[in-house]
Amino acid sequence: MVNAAPAVTVQNLVKRYGHLVAVNDVSLSIHEGEIFGIIGPNGAGKTTAVECISGLRAPDSGSISVYGLSPQKDRNKIREFVGVQLQESALPPRIKVGEAVRLFASFYPDPLDPDQLLESLGIKQIVNSSFKNLSGGQKQRVSVALALVGNPKLAILDELTTGLDPEARREIWSLIERMRDRGVTVILVTHFMDEAERLCDRLALINHGTVIELDTPEAIAAQAGGSRVRFVPSQPVNDETLRAIPGVNEIERKERYITVTGTGDLVGSLINVLAAIGVRVSDVEARTGNLEDAFIKLTKDDAFSVGKGVQT
């Protein structure tokens, strides 16, 4: 699935606004055909980083290569095959959806069919509506349409599904997955962890302008510290018995419930060990540590370690 040639390489990127360091020494490489997520708290520098990649901003230092081209020096060439969806960008209030999408299609050498694109985004019925009369979700989908209509090799999508209802989000997700299946490389800036988990092949977690994690969503989620199982035993079980079960780290008791936290196949080993000593379990509720848990843990850890220097 992963091609050897990186589509985008960022090395030691630094961008300051006055004396505020927005991006501080970011290095990453994005493979062709993958969906690469950039997650991080508000103000972490995500948008600034992708604006440098798309050529909208000039980095203060560091180098960026997009399919072997420099976003600054070869900006004209890059614009031909990079589709950008900006976080805060509106259309002229009286432009009609169809006009805007056809206009953007005319800018590119090999565009998608505007009608088909609007259909797949579920907004064909508003093709003759003025932009100012659209709902937030419709505006967002039009914005996505403008980023994709040029049939880009690289799509940079900033806050893709903000303001969309759950159904619309799922539709857009499957559209992005179909784009990847066609070989499009996608950079996705998001602060929705479920979106990152569902869509992204790899993720960079950015905090305070620095990449603090770069891995698959599963690997980052694993850092949340494994899974949690809550259950009711048929008869009292002491802590020593529980601690002896492989993978168990912590035990909490509340009323008749016992909650154990740990790693590995927690539910399996728990049930097997307890069954062997004649204890049945009921009301089992198991939750695997997810990306959101890891996100909160990692960004909180990082907040405590600010000033300790560059993290790796």
Binding site: S89, L91, R94
Partner: protein, 258 residues
Amino acid sequence: MTGYRPEWISHRSRVQFAELLKVQSKLALREPYALLGGLALPAILLAVFGFIGQAQPGNVGSTGLTIIDLWTPTILVLSFIFISVSLPNTLVRDREIGWLRRVSTTPLHPSRLLAAQLIIDLILAAAAVLIVILEGALVFGASLHVQILPFAVSLLLSIVELFALGLVLVALVPTQAVAQPVAGVVTFGLMFLSGLWVNPAQVGDPLRTIMYYSPSGAAVRAVLDSAFNGGPSYAGLLTMAVYTVIFGFVAIRYFRWE
């Protein structure tokens, strides 16, 4: 420099620009600031002066010109002023909402958007000239005996100079909310200096000199002279040329796409 341009690029840029002109024209019709100010208002003003002229026929003072003759140049320049000050209405807004920035991420440079807007406004200005001259001549019997070349040069220079002033506003005004009052004040100033309310020939110095060498006053005088005095004064044309260079420089120097 004769740059090498493959055929498909030039063909594509023509297709891009045609599509852009189409959309921008539709927007200009849906947000008709320039259309109303540039075409409707001059047509109405001309009718007002036309009826005054019919009530007071004959020469004004000892000029040998009728009221309609005298006011036609002023009304033409007013039309250019209204079109010009409508530029920030759309362009400042398009910048403020991030549309120009958005366009700058596509293969189309946003300067083409500006060019399309200027072409549309140029067409409007040409239409205003036709409407005002035809209305003046056919309905109110204004004199049509002008020397075409100096007249056309004066009109064209007036348009270029005033459009450059409009672009200065686009460059300097930060937001749409500021654009409206600024455009209002500038319009009022230009209308006054053009001689709409007081005729510069009838006021003393230094106001007369200020009006003659103001952006709109110089334009009116050049058009008037080229229509009825055999040709515009070189000083008048030079005044407009200097303004055009200054406005053009400021507009280019301070223009922002985002």
